[in-house]
Amino acid sequence: MGNQVNELARGIIAGEEKALAKGLTFIENRKSGYRELLDSIYPEVRSCPIWGLTGAPGVGKSTITNYLVDSLANRSERIGVIAVDPTSPFSGGAILGDRVRMMDLAGREGIFIRSMASRGALGGLSPAIMDAVSLYQAFGVDRILVETVGVGQSETDIVSLADTVAVIMMPGTGDDVQTIKAGLLEIGDIFAVNKADLEGAETLAGLLQSMLSSRNGDEKWVPPVIKLVASQGQNLDTLLEKFLDHQKSLEKSGQKEKKEKMRNEMALKMHLQARFQDLYLGPLLGTEDWEKAIKSINRREKSPAYWAEKLISRSD
């Protein structure tokens, strides 16, 4: 096993596509040795801008990603893409369909695309996605694009992962006051109203503008609202420019380092949580004590809070 890990690490650092592909599976499956793999590539991680795109299913994220990747690759950048789709809570399986829109990129030099399922992450980003970013950065890419479905927590998770987040919306899908209130407004650095040829696009864009203007005023960056018709390529160049502008603004204001620090904190937290789970929760599950606690909670003798304390202190 040690050999396998070494071989993968070497390959990834050397920029071998197959090694990166296998390495991503390795960390995604949390195979034993994945920590060693991360460890051995870590000194070679070279930070690069990370852009996030989030939005409800069907708003056109993949079409937009496809354009961004294509344009950046044309500037001879090496691009890594992570496209996240939700895992079915019933079967644990997933259909990862983002590639449908990106197949023209398949096989092009300098473009690496990986579809990932959210797996156990309850709608949020799985820790493996954080690690995938590290692998890409050791492999050597100039930029990483992460595409997530904006359901539940992944929207807010993406802020800790990406330097720049674009929130993609479209008219007529309930992207109205309700959903905007739900926290989307705080996470976006750029807002894009796609399918702007549909009815309601103006209203949605106007609504966003007015809500954003009341967003806390001490920031240097004012999030732009861009109207797109991605399927016809309309205004996608403006979106790309805004991404680049935001990146420059981060560099100038020193926010970039802050973001990086936040990302690292998040990664450390996620790994710690995983370790706590391995060390404490895992061994407890199904034990006599566990069953006893559940019974007691069922009978309403003691609360789950009580038992959590009790079990933790016992496992010391």
Binding site: S32, S91, A94
Partner: protein, 132 residues
């Protein structure tokens, strides 16, 4: 620690637009707990193979009903061998005569499923082959 999810790439090589079978199979594999990368219509063998490599799938499933299987399926098999990915389980389905099936199995296909195959058979075949 960790689990080995089965990852499958389902692709339609060539120009054939009949995707009912491919989509039904994709959904059945999803419901069996697998992660299915679906590529959509009109894919070239090159695109299919490079997607499969980057996605590190254990299985590639191809579907064709247009009669172009001899040519396109074979190309996928050849490309996989060329790039050293014979370990990927290669299966196919569609309107494929018996004679062609044997030929495809000779050039690297593990199995060509005939019309009327139940999705459960496909699921258990994949599970058995991948998990051993």
């Amino acid at each position: 620690m960790g689990e080995n999810k089965i990852r499958v790439l389902i692709a339609k090589p060539g120009l054939d637009g009949h995707d009912r079978g491919a989509k039904v199979v994709a959904q059945a594999l999803r419901d069996a707990g697998m992660e299915v990368i679906y590529t959509g219509l009109r894919r070239t063998p090159d695109q299919i193979v490079s997607a499969a490599v980057q996605e590190d799938v254990q299985v590639i499933g191809l579907s064709s009903l247009s009669g172009a299987h001899n040519h396109l399926f074979k190309k996928v098999a050849e490309l996989l061998q060329e790039k050293g990915h014979e370990d990927i389980l290669l299966i196919g389905g569609g309107i494929i005569p018996e004679k062609d099936r044997k030929q495809l199995e000779d050039v690297g296909f593990d199995r060509i499923f005939s019309p009327g195959t139940s999705t459960e058979d496909i699921v258990s075949y994949i599970k058995e082959k991948v998990n051993g």
